[in-house]
Symmetry: C2
Subunit: 77 residues, 2 copies
């Protein structure tokens, strides 16, 4: 089981990506954690270190995938 | 079973997204078709109609998710 972390900011684009894509990952392979960076700003540094430039984004197996564009991570600081 | 169509152009960003994300969708829910728009230019119109502006992108359940940025669809014409 791999961990996938979905970073978002509660925006409409984020909600679509979470419901449409993050929750559609194979549950036998991925344990998906959803992190609201607006509410958990202590985790912004971790997201940036993984290469997250904007939300929504998902980090899985060492890769970072930005999904459409909701907000820049700079605007969440 | 829903159909998910992954549009790409064979670029490195596309390959990462296909292997990392498109192939990680729940196989009990999604039948994933991969379409190389560079080789199947007859399907560019269909992709544009679904709202695809760049590749890689995945269209599923009526929603279009652009994943990172490989190439603009304009550049594939």
């Amino acid at each position: 089981m791999s961990k996938a972390i979905f970073y978002h900011a509660g925006c409409p684009v984020c909600v679509s990506a979470e419901n449409g894509l993050a929750h559609s990952l194979d549950p036998s392979k991925y344990d998906v954690e959803s992190v609201h960076l607006g509410e958990q700003s202590g985790r912004i540094a971790e997201a940036e270190q993984a290469g997250v430039k904007s939300v929504p984004a998902i980090v899985m197996d060492g890769q970072t995938f930005h999904i459409n564009f909701g907000a820049s991570i700079e605007d969440l600081k």
